[in-house]
Symmetry: none
Subunit: 250 residues, 2 copies
């Protein structure tokens, strides 16, 4: 199933939002994470120029915004409804972190279900009768002494976790590979070249070559250079040897 | 080691920020995630009323803000410097997602190191010479066709991942110790010495010094040499330079 189809089963529901700028910022936030559906429940000021300004070009999200009078209307067709709560409350809801919530939401979406993340008013959050419509709570594990995230920031975090869950999905492209480390024989060739060069440039001067070479081995083995990096390093050694040879021909 | 001690080893560096409101929003964002240190590199407008307004009470973060003229000053004492990049660029830096970056950063903090997350200007991001000062890149896996997060949102995501890593590690195990890696200033000193030596031994010969130097930076940053290893490497460079000087005196 393509990611875009799954992503389109997610909606972000903003309830009684006070500041239109936050609606625009939320539109931008979900757009950056590959989502497109914003539902506004009784927004206090909408439409408003600040929505467009803060959306920063997320026009496809703005054009699909749906406005409804109450939360029940926003989520009627949803299989899973998760409400964001700033504080742990004594509500009889299963509470997830965003990281725990994302795979739960993805599973619902994969099973052909519609999924809603619900966010309350900036100052007052979700009311208890609104939380009662949710199937679970999402609590961002913020610092206990300063736990109030900006609304659009909370939307960003949940959208991010949902995107991470989607990208972990088997349909995600394989991660791009860097070059593999050089093999042991190539590393030994480099170390022999390094030892010869240290002799040529008269590096040791009374110090123990063995100790220094062991230290350098440890350093370069830790770096795990690839073949191309070894070629660069050996090029440097060769030029240092060439200079040493010229110096000694004086 | 208490979490608060670890958290205080993290700094969030905002480079050439245009909008003071974003500085305030970033202060609030890191505060909600338990962090407190914001460093401003050449902010375009600061101080400004919007900073306070958007910080929404994160006064302890605002009171600790440090302003410096350039990125090098902001990170000189850091063991790990990770730069946020909106797009995948052809920079020779190891690239992490925020989720991959967080445990790497936490390990550095546990090993007594200072850690910096660096964020560029809202419109232009980090310049290449600024990225060159970073030890790794953090790329938020945003939607490829709309990848530009608001600055404070990007700060929020990285702070969130760092907090999640901290919460997964409530009590740090004692770091098993070899010597700690050299700090950023020492690494830059080594890279300058390396660049000078390559010139002296006439290494480049028509090849691009920039490409080679970026490749070598990546290799040596990966190895995380300690101070003593750097002294050995710089001793080798000095002897190669001495040979080159003798060769040219012929």
């Amino acid at each position: 199933m393509p990611d875009a189809v799954l992503a389109d089963r997610f909606r972000f529901v903003l309830v009684r939002t006070s500041h239109p700028g936050n609606i625009g910022s939320a539109a931008r936030a979900i757009r950056t994470m590959g989502f497109a559906r914003l539902v506004l429940v009784a927004p206090q000021r909408y439409p408003h120029d600040d929505v467009t300004a803060m959306a920063a070009g997320a026009d496809d999200v703005l054009s699909r915004i749906v406005v409804v009078p109450d939360l029940a209307s926003a989520i009627a067709d949803c299989r899973l409804v998760l409400g964001a709560t700033a504080r742990q409350r004594n509500v009889a809801l299963t509470e997830h972190t965003p990281r725990q919530a994302a795979p739960v939401a993805l599973d619902a979406a994969k099973a052909d279900g519609e999924v809603a993340f619900v966010f309350g008013n900036e100052r007052t959050g979700l009311e208890n009768d609104e939380l009662a419509l949710c199937h679970g709570a999402v609590h961002i594990p913020a610092a206990p002494d300063f736990s109030s995230l900006n609304l659009a920031q909370a939307v960003q975090l949940l959208a991010y976790e949902a995107r991470m869950a989607l990208l972990d999905n088997p349909v995600a492209p394989p991660p791009k590979k860097s070059d593999p480390p050089a093999d042991a024989a190539a590393m030994e060739g480099f170390f022999a070249h390094l030892a010869a060069t240290l002799d040529d440039i008269e590096f040791h001067k009374g110090r123990s070559p063995q100790t220094i070479l062991l230290r350098l081995r440890k350093l370069f083995l830790r770096a795990q250079p690839d073949e191309r990096e070894l070629r660069v390093l050996r090029g440097i050694l060769s030029d240092a040897q060439r200079m040493a040879k010229l110096a000694k021909e004086r």
